[in-house]
């Protein structure tokens, strides 16, 4: 094996040489052309948080409207647009991209690699994400924001009921971002298969890699369903087709099937990586490896599989045959099992340990609690009779927020507190962090728990106002107050990020004394990530001494690869050395492709077919330039 090979010890000269090779200049060109996964990862995080704020402001407006009966700050039409944008933004432009941000930043560092497998695809997926968001929000400028709810049920979305551009922005905007998510998922999968350091066989991969790889594969199967639905919708609206038109042999239920075949796997796509991050942080603070690694991996994969078999539980009230309903109800109850296995693995890790109560750990404990509450209300709605009673009420709104905020936002904030020192070299403020947690946690429960009650009292979701005397007044006022407290908590988080970035305590390489490879390099890491490509011999390479493991990973000696932008490729299962990979230089090609795609989608939106055709031509030219081998490069192993 390679470890026995006589590698020369790296010197200061090695670092200098690598700096030169991997450096991205801080010029306008450098910023637009960079393919560095760390820069792209942080951009993903910042952009997703911008969408979180936009979605949050929309929620704030809604809660102002609903604080008391008979308020008319917003017209019914404006309210429709606001709640649609809130849901669409949060679920599609925040919840998944934020997790891509962490995975983009962390994966090569977790794997002991110098970059993702497809760095230009990585840059492309970011630009497409950004531009798709700009495309969606440009609907604000013409006052025609999507307005039929984030799941946009036909036939309300058909042209005759919605003649303006609102739902065109929706259909095309979503189609746009699915391209970004698809190429991003492909990049994660290929990186997982090829880019792990020698010795990191699949049973030694960090849990986060398992969860992101699982959801990436899920995305490849789930997203086309959404794409198909949005293509049909656009064709129905603008090419006079009849997919959802029951008068001409179509069916509005086709939309619901396609949407939820995507929609339910999507729920797991936006929570599994967050659970994966929790499975990495909890052991660090408990000072012991995760209990039941194998069980957690298996249940992650099982969740991914069963996630495809439950979509009809969103359609229990649509009049489908009872046999189908029973099947999907049973499947929906089954999916509780793998999630519960993971929760028990965390509890087992916590059990009998002395957890170090730093801010990330507070958020993680809050997350476990909210996960259980959100899970229980999920089990409740998986039961048919219960669902028939409560579907389309605020109970469902409460459930989705416990799931998405509880299992996505709380662990995301824990992860920012945890990895912020790695990204910036500085710690976040602990005191402000505790305030941040308690304000968010109390505000959240104050805001969202009463929604269970308003739901049981029969308050339908999505009504823009309500009359007094229905017993909903007090509970709505509490909800609104809680929502604002929660917003203050989120604000404290942003204040902490901005302040700590300038003036936080210096972190050092491994401030949490954690066990995985990203903590073996400096904070922030050098542009080339690793001075030597490590060789991995256990799941916890930095804890081998402490755990008394017989294996010894090597993080200080190994190949340095100083001939050019190079890293190692290994075999998919055992991570044995396969070849040296030549990595691409910075390039404007991803940005050009994304810009051409933006033009294409505006062409479609405005039905300026010539413009769309021109954009496709542009895409064709740029793709050919991309794939053409560069004159100064030797023909690579792959080319």
């Amino acid at each position: 094996m390679a470890t026995t090979a006589p590698y020369a010890a790296p010197t200061a000269e090695t670092a200098e040489r690598l700096d030169e090779i991997w450096h991205t200049p801080h010029t306008l060109y450098g910023r637009l052309a960079t393919v560095d996964h760390k820069i792209i990862g942080i951009r993903y995080l910042v952009t997703s948080f911008v969408f979180l704020v936009l979605g949050g402001l929309e929620a704030a407006v809604m809660r102002a409207q609903l604080a008391q009966p008979n308020l008319h700050l917003l017209s019914a039409e404006a309210y429709n647009q606001i709640f649609t944008m809130h849901g669409t933004t949060m679920i599609i432009w925040y919840a998944a991209p934020i997790l891509s941000g962490f995975s983009n930043y962390l994966w090569p560092l977790l794997f002991g690699s110098r970059d993702m497998a497809l760095p230009r695809i990585n840059a492309l997926s970011y630009w497409l994400f950004l531009f798709s968001g700009i495309f969606l929000y440009s609907s604000v400028l013409v006052g025609q924001m999507p307005d039929r709810g984030w799941f946009a049920y036909a036939p309300m979305t058909e042209l005759q009921y919605s003649p303006a551009l609102n739902m065109d922005f929706y259909a095309l905007g979503i189609l746009f971002i699915t391209i970004s998510t698809t190429v991003g998922s492909i990049n994660f999968l290929v990186t997982m298969l090829k880019m792990r350091a020698p010795g990191m066989s699949i049973n030694r991969m960090p849990i986060m890699a398992w969860s992101t790889a699982t959801i990436s594969l899920m995305a490849l199967f789930a997203l086309p369903s959404l794409s198909a639905a949005c293509i049909f919708l656009f064709f129905d609206r603008r090419l006079a087709m009849h997919f959802f038109d029951s008068a001409q042999g179509g069916s509005p239920l086709l939309w619901q099937h396609l949407f939820w075949i995507f929609g339910h796997p999507w729920v797991y796509i936006v929570v599994l990586p967050a659970m994966g991050m929790a499975s990495m942080m909890i052991p660090t603070f408990c000072r012991r490896p995760l209990a039941g690694y194998g069980y957690v991996v298996m249940s992650t994969i099982m969740t991914g599989l069963i996630g495809f078999g439950v979509w009809v539980h969103h359609m229990f009230a649509t009049g489908l045959p009872p046999m189908a309903l029973s099947f999907f109800s049973a499947a929906s109850l089954t999916i509780v099992i793998p999630s519960a296995v993971t929760v028990f693995a965390w509890i087992a890790t916590l059990w009998d340990s002395k957890p170090v109560m730093r801010t990330p750990m507070l958020f993680l404990l809050g997350f476990v609690l909210l996960f259980v509450i959100g899970g229980v209300s999920g089990v409740m709605t998986a039961a048919l009779p219960f669902d028939w009673q409560l579907t389309d009420t605020y109970f469902v709104v409460a459930h989705i927020h416990y799931v998405l905020i509880g299992i996505n936002l709380f662990p995301v904030i824990a992860a920012v507190y945890y990895w912020f020192p790695k990204m910036t070299g500085r710690m976040m403020d602990e005191r402000l962090g505790r305030w941040n947690f308690w304000v968010m946690f109390i505000g959240f429960n104050l805001g969202f728990f009463p929604m269970h009650i308003s739901g049981m009292l029969g308050m339908p979701r999505r009504i823009y106002t309500y009359s007094g005397g229905l017993g909903w007044d007090a509970v709505n006022l509490v909800t609104s107050i809680g929502a604002y407290v929660f917003a203050v908590g989120v604000l404290l988080f942003f204040i902490n990020v901005i302040r700590s970035r300038r003036s936080g305590a210096i972190a050092g390489d491994n401030p949490w004394d954690a066990s995985t490879l990203e903590w073996s390099v400096s904070s922030p890491p050098p542009e080339y990530n690793f001075l030597v490509i490590p060789t991995v011999r256990s799941r916890d390479p930095l804890w081998e001494d402490r755990l008394g493991l017989p294996e010894r990973s090597s993080v200080r000696e190994g190949p340095t690869l100083t001939e050019g932008r190079e890293t190692l490729a290994t075999t998919p299962l055992d991570a044995e050395l396969a070849r040296v990979l030549h990595m691409p230089e910075d390039t404007l090609i991803p940005l050009s492709l994304a810009l051409a795609t933006l033009v294409l989608f505006y062409g479609l939106l405005l039905r300026a077919w010539w413009l769309a055709g021109l954009a496709v031509l542009g895409l064709y030219v740029v793709i050919n330039i991309w794939l053409w081998p560069k004159a100064h490069e030797p023909l690579s192993e792959e080319g």
């Binding site: 390679a2 090979a5 590698y7 020369a8 090695t14 040489r17 497998a117 497809l118 698809t182 492909i186 990049n187 999968l189 290929v190 090829k194 880019m195 490849l220 997203l223 086309p224 369903s225 794409s227 198909a228 293509i231 049909f232 064709f235 129905d236 090419l239 006079a240 087709m241 009849h242 997919f243 001409q248 042999g249 179509g250 069916s251 086709l254 099937h257 396609l258 075949i261 190949p559 340095t560 690869l561 100083t562 190692l568 490729a569 075999t571 050395l577 396969a578 070849r579 040296v580 990979l581 064709y620 050919n624 794939l627 053409w628 081998p629 023909l635 690579s636 192993e637 792959e638 080319g639």
Partner: protein
């Protein structure tokens, strides 16, 4: 740093490079897209009182066209085998014939469209028929364009026995496009002959 570490690594030519895996992933997700299209077709078919609404799609053009497309996959396979053995001419000729067969498919398919008695806006069946075949049509166009680029590179001598990922990926994509057509053909042209109801 005089030590060139790459010489220490055991060369492994059997291992697929990242670009190959990326193409496989792309094919998976594209295949899923067509699967959802066909799901939609059968879903609406199952609820229709009469399917297809008017008469069965004719096999006069589509039948031979299917044979041409499937045959082109074998030519592509022959071409790829050529470069694996280092035979440049075989690659060039094979790619050229495959691309021509693809173009013939497109021409015949266009005539099929010209002869249809319905449009995409006649009824849901028309929407499905046109959308599904048009998406496949677009995939054939992409495949032909890929072969065009690969053809030029083949003449420039870019490929060798060991270095020909672009050829492998073009071939993978082309086989995928052909296999999808088998499913599309079986669903749109053959299945109504078996399960169609009036």
């Amino acid at each position: 740093m005089s030590l060139d570490s790459r010489h220490l690594l055991p060369p492994s030519t059997r291992e697929h490079p990242p670009g190959w895996w990326a193409m496989v992933c792309l094919i998976i997700t594209e295949g899923a897209l067509f699967a959802y299209f066909l799901f939609s077709y059968f879903y609406l078919a199952s609820m229709a009182p009469q399917w297809p609404p008017n008469h069965l799609p004719e096999l006069k053009l589509a039948g031979p066209n299917t044979v041409i497309l499937i045959a082109s996959s074998f030519v592509m396979w022959w071409a790829e085998r050529g470069i694996k053995a280092g035979q440049q001419m075989r690659l060039r000729i094979g790619l050229l014939i495959t691309a021509l067969m693809g173009i013939v498919f497109l021409v015949i398919q266009s005539r099929e469209y010209a002869g249809l008695k319905f449009t995409a806006s006649s009824h849901a069946y028309g929407s499905l028929f046109i959308t599904i075949t048009a998406f496949h049509f677009a995939h054939v166009v992409v495949g032909v364009l890929m072969m065009l680029t690969t053809q030029v590179r083949a003449w420039l001598g870019h490929f060798t026995e060991r270095h020909h990922l672009a050829v492998t990926n073009t071939a993978l994509y082309w086989h995928f496009v052909d296999i999808v057509w088998i499913f599309v053909f079986a669903s749109l042209y053959l299945s109504p002959r078996i399960w169609g109801h009036t």
